[in-house]
């Protein structure tokens, strides 16, 4: 990583929100992109929090560490003295913490858990579960240490596109059940933050038909619900082919000979097939990209990582996320 070629904006311009909600269809690399964003936004001495809420331990698996507890932990150093912390929010723990804060439950809280009461409460009212999860995210986002905010930015590895609208739309879900009381107040506070300019929902996709369809649907859904959609993050993009057009077998044979490679019929035919598939794929990708451009949202393309998402790969993604601005 050469600092000269990486004009990281320490203020995180281009990413104006404080809470970044990252969603996407399963398999699009949403967790990796969320982690890369947390790294990018922490660069230059800032501190960010990367949060997961689905009990998948995706962050721990991505970073190759032990499962995360319900506790904010140092996860990684960012370039130029920044820090990324991580938190796996658990609905049960969040409920106990919440009850404890207001009602000082102590041992009774543990008894309730043993009894299955907590499981029961979060099971029977799924909206309650989500309000507890998003409530914790809100608390971390708005927390201050004296004058200073604890986190410059919070990045949420959110549920996938199919569930994101319902997950964020906490007031509607809880309003059906809790008509008065602190939970209602709590959910209204969360809803206000999620619908404010402090929050941006980013959608991760691939240049493939189904993820793009889900991206388009999710953006329409989120917009209708009043959430601010930030960017479309296109993951796994392959480098452009400079020549781009179809190559003839004869041309290919001459090239192979010039490169000192074997150029028998099978090799030429094989490479010719590969080139044809590439062109088909690229044409499809171009038309899919055009569909995304039509959404009229800021779009960032993230490179395909040929060796998978390791730490170096995350750094590459992080650079791409801020360099694009």
């Amino acid at each position: 990583m050469c600092a000269a070629e990486r004009p990281i904006d320490p203020a995180g311009a281009g990413w104006p929100a404080r809470l970044h909600v990252v969603t996407g269809k399963g398999g699009t690399g949403k967790t990796s992109v969320a982690a890369a964003l947390a790294l990018a936004l922490a660069a230059g001495g800032r501190r960010t929090l990367l949060v997961e809420v689905e009990g998948r331990q995706g962050i721990a698996q991505l970073f190759g560490i032990d499962p995360l507890p319900y506790e904010e932990r140092h996860l990684a150093d960012a370039p130029d003295g920044g820090e990324v912390r991580a938190l796996a929010v658990d609905a049960e723990e969040a409920l106990l913490e919440y009850l404890d804060m207001f009602y000082k439950l102590g041992a009774a809280g543990r008894a309730l858990r043993k009894l299955g009461a907590i499981d029961f409460a979060t099971t029977i009212a799924p909206g309650l579960r989500d309000v507890l999860l998003t409530g914790k995210v809100k608390e971390a986002t708005t927390r201050t240490n004296g004058q200073r905010r604890t986190y410059d930015a919070v990045v949420l590895d959110a549920p996938p596109t199919g569930r994101i609208g319902r997950f964020l739309n906490v007031t509607a879900e809880t309003a059906r059940l809790a008509k008065v009381g602190p939970i209602k107040t709590q959910s209204e506070g969360v809803a206000a933050l999620l619908r404010s300019p402090m929050t941006a929902v980013h959608v991760v996709t691939l240049l493939e038909e189904m993820p793009i369809q889900e991206t388009v649907d999710a953006i329409a859904d989120l917009t209708a619900l009043g959430f601010g959609v930030g960017k479309v993050l296109v993951n796994g993009v392959r480098p452009p082919l400079p020549a781009g057009q179809a190559v003839t077998a004869a041309e290919l044979r001459r090239g192979l000979v010039a490169a000192g490679l074997p150029a028998d019929r099978d090799i030429v035919a094989g490479l010719h097939d590969e080139a044809r598939d590439q062109v088909i794929r690229r044409e499809l990708e171009d038309s899919l990209r055009a569909d995304l451009v039509e959404l009229g949202l800021p779009m960032i393309e993230l490179p395909l990582l040929p060796d998978g998402v390791d730490r170096a790969g995350l750094a590459t993604l992080a650079q791409a996320l801020v360099r694009a601005e």
């Binding site: 399963g26 189904m210 057009q245 090239g255 192979l256 490169a259 499809l284």
Partner: protein, 382 residues
């Protein structure tokens, strides 16, 4: 493929043709092509093996659904027209799961109309039947049980819901029945049933506290709704539990074949490995692994490094840009193939006895019957 050396080859035709196999369950992480795989297998069972097949899909992509003639959630299997079953005599039916309607049907079956109406009107039922994490999984299994009980089909192919984790769908029936049958509910009902007779004192004390807290936090109306819901469901506990257990036993039986679906990506392979472990624990019949979207260079003898070096040489020489591009693309493909094999090996090393089949990535997405046929052929004859 070197990565498959360790694992026996999965023969899906043998499974689809076997009259003893009545249920095929496709499971795996989200985004690995479960629905497409399920539809392709069902089509192949009908066209090639002459079986009267129904495919139960959960949330198919719009165009795939259209290609099967599914335009709405109607919870009823519809015959798929325009497929080639003249020679085989098979049939293909398809349906999309309507979670809420399936839940409503279960309620109706287990109670009288007046009580059912009361349940349907309860806000807890409304929340639970449409959003409860696990309801979709439970209802998929319920629907499977219903289709199986009707005995109209030779083969039922099930696509599992895009769960948080692939395990949810195995756990959901048990969780729901545990929940409906649980101590919490009995406690909530206890005062009504027996004048407040308690099980043991600490529980009662905490529970009294719990009620108070719930009243404070959620409001009294909520508690009233909750106990109404619980009382209404009380009569159905036995039925719910019995059905969940029945479905579980069907899944363990030899007439069922589980197929894990994955792509050669770390998350998907990890989910598949978890699932394989779970199926083993639960003594459920795992038939094999379908590895979708595998990249295979057409010229395996030319490796990534050779190819990259040659592309650079051509760029220096000039005049061979098109070939240099092809070689660079080949290098990327070869590198991806090597990485995919390493990722896939994590599964085959952990479960060397589980048969596997790799399906080459298609250049374009599948959304018609022809595309499904191609996929079916690719799964059967890799």
């Amino acid at each position: 493929m070197p990565s498959e050396d360790a694992a026996p080859q999965l023969d899906v035709d043998q499974i689809l043709a076997d009259p003893g196999v009545r249920i095929v369950v496709c499971c795996g992480a989200g985004g690995v092509g479960k629905t497409t795989t399920a539809a392709a297998l069902a089509l192949r069972a009908a066209e090639h093996h002459g079986r009267r097949t129904v495919v139960l899909t959960i949330d198919p992509a719009r165009r795939l659904a259209q290609s099967l003639g599914l335009t709405e959630l109607d919870n009823t299997p519809r015959q798929v027209k325009g497929i080639d079953v003249e020679g085989s005599g098979g049939e293909l039916h398809a349906m999309m799961l309507d979670m809420k309607r399936t839940f409503d049907d279960v309620v109706l079956q287990h109670t009288d109309p007046a009580k059912a109406a009361e349940i349907f009107a309860n806000p807890f039922y409304q929340a639970m039947s449409s959003t409860f994490a696990g309801t979709q999984e439970y209802m998929a299994m319920e629907k499977l049980g219903q289709l199986h009980a009707r005995g109209e089909w030779d083969l039922i192919v099930v696509d599992t819901p895009p769960s948080r984790s692939a395990l949810d769908f195995l756990d959901a029936p048990a969780r729901l029945s545990r929940f409906l049958d649980g101590r919490m509910l009995r406690l909530l009902l206890a005062p009504a049933r027996s004048g407040g007779r308690s099980m043991f004192s600490l529980v009662t004390a905490s529970f009294g506290m719990f009620s108070k807290v719930v009243q404070k936090v959620l409001g009294a109306q909520l508690l009233t709704d909750l106990s109404g819901f619980v009382a209404a469901l009380d009569s159905m506990f036995g039925g719910f539990r019995q059905r969940a257990e029945q479905t579980y036993r069907i899944l363990q039986a030899r007439e069922t074949a589980f197929l894990l679906v994955a792509t050669p990506e770390p998350d998907a392979v990890r989910e598949a490995a978890y699932f394989a472990g779970r199926l083993r624990e639960e003594q459920m019949p795992l038939a094999g692994l379908v590895l979708n979207r595998v990249h295979r260079p057409a010229v395996p003898e030319l490796d990534a490094e050779q190819s990259r070096v040659a592309a650079e040489r051509l760029t220096e020489l000039g005049g061979h840009e098109a070939t240099a591009d092809v070689l660079r693309a080949h290098a990327a493909l070869a590198r991806q193939a090597v990485r995919e094999q390493q990722v896939a090996a994590r599964f085959t090393e952990a479960f060397p006895a589980v048969p596997a089949v790799s399906v080459t990535a298609q250049p374009a997405d599948v959304h018609d019957v022809d595309g499904l046929r191609t996929i079916g052929a690719a799964i059967s004859r890799p």
